[in-house]
Point group: C2
Chain length 585, copies 2
C-alpha cells in the first residue's frame, strides 16, 4: 500500500499523527524559507509543508517538483498557521519527513483547474487530463451514484437486471443502425441495438415479470449537441400492469433518486395531457419551472382589421410578469430572436400593461383599448407585465415558435434555475402522427403501443385522433424518460398495423418474429426507458450530456483521444469478405 490515508480526510483531530499520502501536485507555492505543495487525489487536497531550516535536503527536493508530479510522502499532521475555510482539510498541513517521486510529469497542455484555459478540442484530446478536474470528475461520481441508486430501487421492487445482446439484427422502422460484419457468416451483418425493445418484450413473454437493464444503445444519426452515437438507457418493462402501475413505480424511482442524491422530497408528479402540453406550452416536454402559459387570442384579436392576425390560423401569446420595463431595444432583440431561422416567426407583437392599467401595444392602431383590456383579462395580466404575441398560418408551428420565445423569456427573467426541479408526466400522446414524407400515419411511439381502451372505437372512424397509453417523464423541459403500455392482443395489433398501412404480409415480414412469440401466451405488459446521460446531466446542472460521459464522441462521431474510428488492416477486411468502396474521382 502506497498510503495509509487519503488527501481528503485529515482534520485537526489527526494532528501529531504520522501519515503516508500519495497523489498529484496540484500547486506549488514558494515563500522564502517555506514551500507549500497542494497534494491532490480523488478525495481532496492536503497541504504539504517544507521548511528550509528544519530539513534543507527535502526542501530542495520539493522545490524541484512540477505540477502533476505523482508523489508519495510521509509526514506529521500539524495545525496550520493560516487556515483555509474553503477546504475540508484546511485546518491542517503535513510536515513532510519523506518524499518519494513515484512519477514525473511533463507540463499538461491546459491547467488542471475547474476554471481551465483549455478549449473543448484540447480537453477532449487529452480527456484523461480533463477528467482530473474536480468539476468533471464529480459528474462521473454522480453518474455512478445515480446508476447505483436506480439499481437499488429496482432490485428492492423485484426487478431483475437481464443483459440483452449487443450483437443483434437490424431493426425494422427506426433510426439508422450501426452494423457489424460477421466473419463466420460472410456477407451477413449484426446490428448494434437502438434499444432492447423487442428483447425486453420477449422477456415479458418469458414471464420475467419485472425487467430492467442499464444498457448501451446505438444510433447512427447525424449528431446534434445533445446526441451521442452511443448512449445509455435505463430500460424497464413490467407484466400484468396498466399505465397507472407503471407511472406509480417510476414516479417512486424518481422520488428515490431525488431524495438519495439531491436530498429533495419530490412532490406527487402532476400529469398533463399531451394536448394540454401542446396548447399551453407548445411542446410535449414543457419546462414547468415557471408558468407563463400560452393564451390563445383568436377570439379576441381576429377581425379587427390587422391583416397579419386576421389571416392567421393561430394567434397566441404569453405574459411576462414584470417585464413591462423592457426597452424598445430589448423588444427588438426579442423580435430578432423569434425571426432567427431556428425559430422562424415572421414578427412579434407586444403589449405593455402600464402603471395605470392601460395597454400600450405595437398594434394600437388596429385595436381599441376595450379589446386590449379584454386581452389583458385573458392573460390575468397586471400593471408592469409584458404581453408577447405570435401568429402564423400553421397553429403547431406557431406554438413551437411561441415555445421558444417562452423559454427565452424564462432565461431572461431568471426563471430557469438549474437548482430548481419541476417534474411531471405528459400522458395521452396520440397513437399516430402524419408523415408528409411517407404520406401515411406513423406510430408516434412505436407500433406495439396500445391505444387507450376508450379510444379503440376511433381506430375505425378517426385513427388520427386515437390517444395511446404512452407517457413521458419531463423534468425542467427535458424528456428524461418515456414509454407505453404494449398491445398484447393479436387482433388489435393487426388493426394498428393496418392503419400504419401494412398489409398482413408486410406486418409479418417486419414484425413477424415478435408476433409469433406473442402466440405462445403474451401477458399484458408495458414499460419505459430513461436516458441516463440526460438524467445525470440534469442532476449535474449541465447543458450538454457530454460532460457526464467519461469518453464522449464529437459531432463527427469521433473519439479524438483514441482517434477512433480508424483505418483497419486489409487482412481484417479480407477475413470479413468486405471492401471499402473506391472513391470516384
Amino acid at each position: 500500500m502506497y498510503r495509509n490515508r487519503t488527501c481528503g480526510e485529515l482534520r485537526l483531530a489527526d494532528v501529531s499523527k504520522e501519515v503516508i499520502l500519495a497523489g498529484w501536485v496540484q500547486r506549488i507555492r514558494k515563500m522564502g524559507g517555506m514551500t507549500f505543495i497542494d497534494l491532490r487525489d480523488r478525495y481532496g487536497i492536503t497541504q504539504l509543508a517544507f521548511n528550509q531550516e528544519t530539513d534543507p535536503e527535502i526542501f530542495d527536493k520539493a522545490n524541484k517538483l512540477g505540477r502533476e508530479y505523482v508523489l508519495q510522502i510521509k509526514g506529521i499532521v500539524a495545525e496550520r498557521y493560516s487556515k483555509n475555510a474553503n477546504l475540508p482539510t484546511g485546518d491542517i498541513e503535513i510536515n513532510v519527513t519523506e518524499l518519494n517521486v513515484l512519477n514525473a510529469a511533463i507540463t499538461p497542455p491546459f491547467t488542471i483547474e475547474n476554471e481551465t484555459d483549455g478549449g473543448d478540442d484540447l480537453r477532449m484530446k487529452y480527456r484523461y487530463l480533463d477528467l482530473r478536474r474536480e468539476c468533471v470528475r464529480k459528474n462521473l461520481e454522480l453518474r455512478h451514484k445515480m446508476a447505483f441508486e436506480v439499481r437499488r430501487y429496482l432490485d428492492e421492487h423485484g426487478f431483475l437486471e437481464v443483459e440483452t445482446p449487443v450483437l443483434v439484427n437490424s431493426t425494422p422502422e427506426g433510426a439508422r443502425d450501426f452494423i457489424v460484419p460477421s466473419r463466420m457468416n460472410p456477407g451477413q451483418f449484426y446490428a448494434l441495438p437502438q434499444s432492447p425493445q423487442i428483447l425486453k418484450q420477449l422477456l415479458m413473454v418469458s414471464g420475467f415479470d419485472r425487467y430492467f437493464q442499464i444498457v448501451k444503445c446505438f444510433r447512427d444519426e447525424d449528431l446534434r449537441a445533445d446526441r451521442q452515437p452511443e448512449f445509455t438507457q435505463i430500460d424497464c418493462e413490467m407484466s400484468f400492469v396498466e399505465q397507472e402501475d407503471i407511472l406509480e413505480m417510476f414516479e417512486g424511482m424518481s422520488r428515490h433518486l431525488f431524495k438519495t442524491i439531491k436530498g429533495i422530497d419530490l412532490p406527487k408528479l402532476p400529469r398533463m395531457t399531451w394536448a394540454d402540453a401542446m396548447k399551453y406550452y407548445g411542446s410535449d416536454k414543457p419546462d414547468t419551472r415557471f408558468e407563463m402559459r400560452f393564451v390563445e387570442l383568436m377570439d379576441i384579436l381576429k377581425g379587427h382589421g390587422f391583416g397579419v392576425f386576421d389571416n392567421a390560423a393561430y394567434i397566441g401569446g404569453i405574459c411576462a410578469k414584470g417585464a413591462a420595463t423592457y426597452t424598445r431595444k430589448q423588444i427588438d432583440q426579442l423580435t430578432d430572436f423569434v425571426r432567427r431561422p431556428q425559430v422562424g416567426a415572421k414578427g412579434l407583437v407586444y403589449a405593455r400593461v402600464e402603471a395605470d392599467g392601460t395597454i400600450k401595444s405595437s398594434v394600437d392602431k388596429f385595436y381599441t383599448q376595450e379589446v386590449l383590456q379584454e386581452m389583458k383579462k385573458a392573460f390575468n395580466a397586471e400593471a408592469g407585465d409584458l404581453i408577447l404575441i405570435l401568429s402564423g398560418d400553421d397553429a403547431n408551428k406557431t406554438r413551437k415558435q411561441l415555445c421558444e420565445l417562452r423559454l427565452e423569456m424564462g432565461n431572461q427573467l431568471g426563471l430557469r434555475d438549474k437548482n430548481k426541479y419541476s417534474c411531471l408526466w405528459v400522458v395521452d400522446f396520440p397513437m399516430y402522427e402524419w408523415s408528409d414524407e411517407e404520406g401515411r400515419l406513423m406510430a408516434m411511439h412505436h407500433p406495439f403501443t396500445s391505444p387507450k381502451p376508450e379510444d379503440i372505437p376511433l381506430l375505425d372512424t378517426d385513427p388520427a385522433s386515437v390517444r395511446a397509453n404512452a407517457y413521458d417523464m419531463v423534468i425542467n423541459g427535458v424528456e428524461v424518460g418515456g414509454g407505453s403500455i404494449r398491445i398484447h392482443d393479436a387482433q388489435l395489433q393487426q388493426k394498428v398495423f393496418e392503419i400504419l398501412g401494412f398489409t398482413p404480409e408486410q406486418a409479418q415480414l417486419k414484425f413477424g418474429f415478435l408476433m409469433n412469440a406473442f402466440k405462445y401466451g403474451a401477458p399484458p405488459h408495458g414499460g419505459l426507458a430513461y436516458g441516463l446521460d440526460r438524467f445525470v446531466s440534469l442532476f449535474a446542472g449541465l447543458d450538454s450530456i457530454r460532460d457526464c460521459i467519461a469518453f464522449p464522441k464529437n459531432n463527427q462521431g469521433r473519439d479524438v483521444m483514441l482517434n477512433a474510428p480508424g483505418i483497419v488492416d486489409q487482412v481484417q477486411l479480407d477475413e470479413l469478405e468486405i471492401s471499402v468502396n473506391k472513391k470516384e474521382k
Copy 2:
C-alpha cells in the same frame, strides 16, 4: 393492476381471503367433477380448483383452456384436501370465482418443464419459451443477484463504476476485433472492445483511484463450448496499490459473494505459485477440490531398463485413493481416455497397492518390489490405492496429459462435487512465454504487466525466467478472474518492450497513445477482471456459460432466435461506402 398477489406467496394463513392472480397455465388435471390448474408466474405455482357442481359455467370455461394460456383469476384461498409438501404454496388452492383469459396460447414446441423434451437447437430457437423453465430462469435471477452484490461490495469500498465506450478503435496485439464501419468517416472503422484495458488505465492516470465496470466485451474468435463472441467482465482497477492490496480487496469480494449468495463462509484463500500449479497439477487453474497431486518419478523409475521411461523427459503420476478395485476393463478405458487425440498420451502405466502392501503393476518385469515400494512411499500410497503414471518427451505436454487424467479420475471417484467450492490464487506467473509461431517471447498477460521487483535484474540476463506481478483467481479448476500490477515507470516499460522484440519506434506506434498519457503523471496501479458468465455458471453449477446468458449465440456466432446476423439493405452498405466481396465461383 391485473393481480393483487403473486403465484408464490399464498399460505394457510391466507385461507378465506379473496385474491386476484395472473399467470400461465402450467398444467391441467381433469378429475371427473373437479378440474385443477397449476397457475405459474415468476414467483411460483398456485393450484386453482374448479368444481362442476358449485359453478358449472366456470368449470366448463376452465376445461377449454390449454397449456401456457395467460389467465387472470379471482377466487377464495382454501385449504387443500391433499397437500403438496414440495410446493411452498402446497397447503392451499384457489376456488376460482372469476376467470379471464388474457391471452390464448398455441402449443409450445417443447414442454415448459425443468426436464423438457426440447433439444438444444429447438430451445435456442424458442429461447423466450425456454426462459419460462424455472431451471433456466433461476440462473438469470442468480446472475442479477451476483452482479448486484458485486456492485454493492465495490461501491462500499469506494469504487466508481465508469462506463467506457463500446465504439473504440482496433487493439494492437490481442484477439481478432469486431469492427463497425463509420458512415460519417467513410473508409474508417470502429472496433468493439476486447476489454476496457487501456481506458481503465487512463482512468487511473485521471486519478479515479478505484474503478470498476460490469461491461460487455467482444472477441471475434472461433467459438468453443465455453466461449461467446460477446461476454461480460467485472473489470476493476486501483491506484497506489501493490499486489497484496488487490488480492485482499478481491478476496473480500469473493467472500462477500459466497456469503450473500451461497451462504458459504469462504476460508482465507490459499496462494499457489504458477510453478507449483504446473508441477503439482499440470495446469495454471488447478481444481483443488481434491488432492491427487502429481508426484515426479524420474529419480525412482528411470534407468531400470524400461525403455519408455528411460527415454522420457518426464515421468509422473497420481495416486487415486481406494481405486485399486478398478478392473482391467476400467483401466483399459482410462488408457483409451489418455490416448484420445484431445489428450494425446501414448500409454498409461498403473500400479495397484494390494491389501498386503505389495505393488502389482503393469511394468512389474522392469522393476523390483523394492523400487516399487520406493515409488509407493513417494505417493504416500496405502493398501487399496491405484497409482497411474504417464511419461513423455516433453515435460509440459505430459503434465497437461496427466492433468486430464487427474480430472477424469476426480470425476470417476466423485471428487468434483459442484456444490463444494475450492478457491485459490495462482500467483507469480511468468512475464513471458515463448511463441514458436512468432519466434519470440510473448507477454503472458499483457505488455503492461509489471515484473516482480526482485526479478527485474533477470530482465537483462534471463528474461524467460522473470516472474510477473500477475495473479489469477481459480475456483474448482476454472479461472474466474485474473489481472496484474501494471508498469508505471517509462524506463522499465521500454525494457519490457525491447524484450518483446519491439524497437522504440514500433513500441511508440503500437502503444504510444498510452505511453504518452503516462508522461503526464501515472500513479502505480493494477487491477483485474472477472468473467461474470463463468462466475455465475460456477455458482449455478452449470457446465457451460450458455445457460446463464439470456440470449446466447451458438458455435457459429448466430442468435438463432433473432436470426442474427442477417443480410442488410444495399442502401445501408452504400451509405457506409462498403461492399460485400463477390464470391469467386
